[in-house]
């Protein structure tokens, strides 16, 4: 399933990285931050994102406590409505990766998760590799099973796009121009292949 997911996600211009655990995921994140040369980052305060950010703070990639310093980018978990507007990169966690369509699926009910994945030009999504499912239908079932109803379920497939002028495909309209997906294996476990 991972192979198909990767193929389909890349076909819609997402970049897919597989990480053996949070440590590797943090490393991949550091690489993206470096490559994108961002000064300001906004992040959704969620378990896996916070874990990776803490590792990067320890490694000195990010300044501690969200302060810009020593040429290191600043990262914000709060006040995102104001901070996301001019941030260069947003980090969020998505629960599922859908193989057939190369999509991510996640409950984006929190305002933070939506702001970080819509406003900045680069979106990095952390996804547990145990969250690989085959089809969008399966993803819907996971979220709506057992009588639950998420407030705002998002499927995200690649960066935003348009073909509205002369049908020429152009990446990056209102949403992100680039989407990085880091699939994170459980520590010790192999994840869902």
């Amino acid at each position: 399933m991972y192979g198909l997911f990767r193929e389909r996600a890349e076909a819609v211009s997402a970049r897919v990285i597989r990480a053996g655990g949070p440590g590797e995921a943090a490393g991949a994140l550091a690489g993206i931050i470096e490559e994108e040369k961002v000064k300001k980052i906004v992040a959704e305060p969620s378990g896996m994102v916070e874990r990776c950010v803490r590792i990067l703070e320890e490694r000195g990639v990010l300044a501690e406590g969200g302060q810009e310093g020593g040429g290191r980018p600043a990262l914000f978990f709060r006040d995102l409505r104001r901070q996301a507007g001019d941030a260069g990169l947003g980090i969020s966690e998505m629960a599922l990766a859908v193989a057939e369509t190369g999509s991510l699926a996640g409950d984006c009910t929190s305002m933070e998760s939506r702001l970080v994945s819509t406003l900045p030009p680069v979106h990095v999504a952390l996804v547990p590799s145990s969250g690989l499912v085959a089809t969008p239908g399966e993803a819907i079932e996971r979220f709506y099973g057992g009588g639950r109803t998420p407030g705002y379920l998002s499927f995200i497939s690649g960066p935003s796009r348009t073909a509205d002028i002369e049908r020429v495909l152009t990446i990056g309209v209102h949403g992100p121009e680039r989407l990085y997906i880091i699939l994170v294996d459980e520590e010790g476990g192999g994840g869902n292949d």
Binding site: T118, Y152, P159, D164, R167, V173, H174
Partner: protein
């Protein structure tokens, strides 16, 4: 015809940008769509969607109640609007009550249907379309020309002009630059807007969820940044349960834009957290306007309820030969193309659909692609019948249908008279090059064949029969073979006789009746059907025709026309069951062509009716290849040739333009011969080749080619 209709058609045909854009797209779409569906069972998906949406249409009222309860439970406010006016007023009053100064909108056809922007603007509220295509349209004061790609008719240069005027800067026409401008300009509007208005692609009764399928990201912004979200949802968007979403998502992006999935699919249930500009949490409000505007009336209509199954993918436009030529503007309203004709009739009034219904050629291509299983051409025929039923036929047509068609001798007499009258205009080779004055439109770009000196009916009796005849086959000629191409009838006769069949030609037969039906006159069509059924009696094993249009009508429509006509219902069923088309019959019965045509390069044009109504396309190819012809496929062999019977007379310009594309595809194969199974296509193709100066390419019916 409504005022300006013909002018709009002429203008569209003259618009080279539009023609190029739509033409390129039409070609690219087919392949891309096919790729997107790879590994999928389209027929199974569409059966599922048709089932889901059919059930929803039948229970619309109940679903609306369930949806309302569930959405309210989740914290949304649901307002049921019967008319566009009620919907507009509700939204306007809400905006005013909340002190909203500016509104951002993501793409929604239903808000166009109710002319929402105009009413908000009149109330002094600024409205911004944020879908790139819609924004271009809004800024340039135009109308969308396509359901999915509203600005497909505009070039990058035109867009640069529009954006330059808006921003006061001189912008280059590079597309990435233009897209960036839109991002920056509209970002400010998103951040400042007091209200976000969206549509919905699906509304789930079980959970009160709305589903939005988008690509640009504007849908997520519209529903995230403003503290007030209004979703305008047509009642046709309702489905029963959350399990109904996945099948629609499986088809919608694949059919609409040839994507496995759009960039964003968003499923919203009730208001979600929001913040004001300073970042303080605010109470979000979500209002859902459920719009009727003709939809419950449609649901209660035994025929037109089918149109409620539509998921607005626009593939019926993308494959329609007429739409490909003229685009959306000629349709004059929000919903365009074949399905748009039906929707216009219900949402904007029957009279508004009167002109545009006549644009449909009846080629049935859209039907083969519709992921919701809607028989669009059948709905258009029904619409036509109702319009005619209300207005009556024009006197000339009535005389033709009610008096001339059923009477073969009168019809023939008139045709003969016409044949004599045309003599002075017949040039060598049997084509009419120029017709006098009022008929001139008929022969521009296409030469018409001369009416035969002796119709088939006069020849039929004297054709040789086999010595020990076997099965009795009734031959149904149809008008074109009878009066224009008796040579096809003779070829069929020769082949069947060679196979040992006893071929009979019941002289009481007349026109198949399809022209009457297409003109919206089911009464005369039924009368003609009874006449033909009586003429053939019950003792032919098969009723064979070499005209797929006749075959379709005899087989599919006779039972339908006579369903409630006492003993005729049964007779029509038995008659229809025995109708076969030439190619599938001789192929099935093991006909072996003589062969000896090795090396003659040939290409095959699929008649719309043969391929899509009768499902026959392999047989004629196998027969021709069996005869030794070297078959090369043209590009899109099943794209309509533009004949469409009397269509080519009503819209000669449209018909001619479609024909030109076909002739080009034929010429590109380098074939010496183009074969087809339909005498109507033959007339069109032969005429187009002749008029286009491609006389070295011969057009012929499959039967003729097999018995040479």
């Amino acid at each position: 015809m409504t005022e300006g209709f013909r002018e709009r058609i002429a203008a569209a045909l003259d618009n080279q940008n539009l023609r190029r854009a739509l033409g390129n797209f039409a070609d690219a779409y087919l392949g891309a769509r096919e790729n997107a569906y790879q590994g999928k069972d389209f027929e199974a998906i569409r059966r599922k969607i048709a089932g889901i949406k059919k059930g929803a249409a039948e229970n619309m009222e109940e679903l609306a109640h369930r949806f309302t309860r569930a959405a309210e439970k989740a914290g949304a406010v649901v307002y049921r609007a019967s008319t566009p006016e009620e919907a507009r007023d509700y939204i306007k009053n809400l905006a005013q009550a909340r002190g909203v100064k500016s509104v951002v909108k993501s793409k929604s056809m239903v808000t166009e249907e109710i002319h929402l922007n105009r009413s908000l603007k009149e109330a002094g509220i600024e409205v911004r379309e944020t879908d790139l295509g819609e924004w271009i349209i809004q800024l340039s004061g135009q109308k969308p020309s396509h359901m999915v790609m509203p600005a497909i008719h505009m070039t990058r240069g035109e867009v640069a002009g529009v954006f330059s005027a808006e921003t006061g800067k001189e912008l280059s026409d590079e597309i990435p630059v233009l897209v960036k401008v839109a991002r920056e300009e509209l970002r400010q509007k998103f951040l400042a807007a007091g209200m976000g208005i969206s549509g919905a692609n699906i509304a789930v009764a079980e959970t009160g969820t709305i589903v939005m399928v988008t690509n640009e990201g504007n849908g997520r912004l519209t529903t995230t940044l403003p503290p007030l979200h209004v979703a305008v949802v047509g009642l046709d968007k309702l489905v029963s349960s959350i399990g109904d979403v996945a099948p629609i998502l499986e088809a919608l992006p694949r059919s609409a834009t040839a994507q496995h999935m759009t960039s964003y699919v968003t499923m919203i249930t009730g208001p979600v957290p929001a913040m004001d500009r300073a970042g303080n949490p605010v109470e979000k409000e979500m209002h859902i306007v459920l719009l009727d505007n003709g939809r419950t009336k449609m649901a209660s209509d035994p025929v037109f309820k089918e149109a409620l199954q539509c998921i607005r993918c626009a593939s019926c436009l993308n494959v329609c030969p007429v739409f490909q030529l003229v685009g959306g503007h000629v349709y004059g309203h929000v919903y365009t193309g074949g399905i748009g004709t039906i929707l216009t009739a219900f949402h904007h009034g029957l009279e508004k659909a009167e002109s545009i219904q006549s644009l449909c050629l009846g080629c049935e291509r859209c039907k083969a692609f519709c992921p919701a299983g809607i028989d669009i051409p059948a709905l258009i025929r029904e619409l036509r019948a109702r319009i005619t039923g209300r207005k009556g036929l024009p006197a000339g047509s009535r005389f033709l249908l009610e008096t001339v068609l059923p009477s073969r001798s009168l019809f023939h007499g008139l045709i003969k008279a016409a044949s004599a009258a045309q003599k002075p205009f017949v040039r060598e080779g049997g084509y009419v090059r120029h017709l006098p004055l009022f008929l001139a439109g008929l022969t521009r770009g296409r030469s018409l064949p001369a009416i035969a000196g002796r119709p088939f009916r006069d020849v039929a009796g004297s054709l040789p029969a086999p010595r020990n005849p076997g099965e009795r086959i009734g031959f149904f000629a149809g008008c074109l073979i009878d009066f224009v191409y008796p040579r096809i009838g003779e070829a069929v006769h020769k082949i069947l006789a060679g196979m040992g069949c006893r071929v009979v030609f019941p002289p009481g037969q007349t026109c198949c009746g399809l022209p009457a039906s297409y003109m919206g006159a089911p009464g005369p069509a039924a009368r003609i059907a009874r006449q033909n059924i009586a003429a053939f009696g019950e003792d032919c094993r098969y009723i064979l025709t070499a005209c797929p249009t006749c075959a379709t009508f005899l087989k599919r429509d006779y039972p339908r026309l006579l369903r409630e006509d006492g003993e005729w219902a049964g007779r029509a069923e038995r008659f229809a069951a025995r109708v076969v088309d030439f190619s599938s019959f001789v192929s099935r019965e093991g006909f072996r062509p003589a062969g000896g045509f090795a090396g003659t390069r040939i290409t095959y044009h699929d008649s719309c009716h043969l391929k899509r109504n009768l499902g026959v396309f392999r047989e004629p190819r196998e027969l021709l290849a069996g005869a030794g012809y070297d078959l090369v496929e043209m590009k899109w062999p099943d794209r309509c040739c533009g004949f469409g019977g009397s269509y080519s007379m009503r819209f000669p310009e449209v018909s001619r333009s479609i024909l030109e594309a076909k002739i080009k595809d034929i010429t590109e194969t380098g074939a010496r011969v183009v074969a087809t199974d339909c005498p109507g296509c033959l007339l069109q193709l032969a005429g187009g080749l002749d008029a286009g100066g491609r006389r070295e390419i011969r057009a012929a019916h499959t039967a003729e080619l097999l018995c040479e």
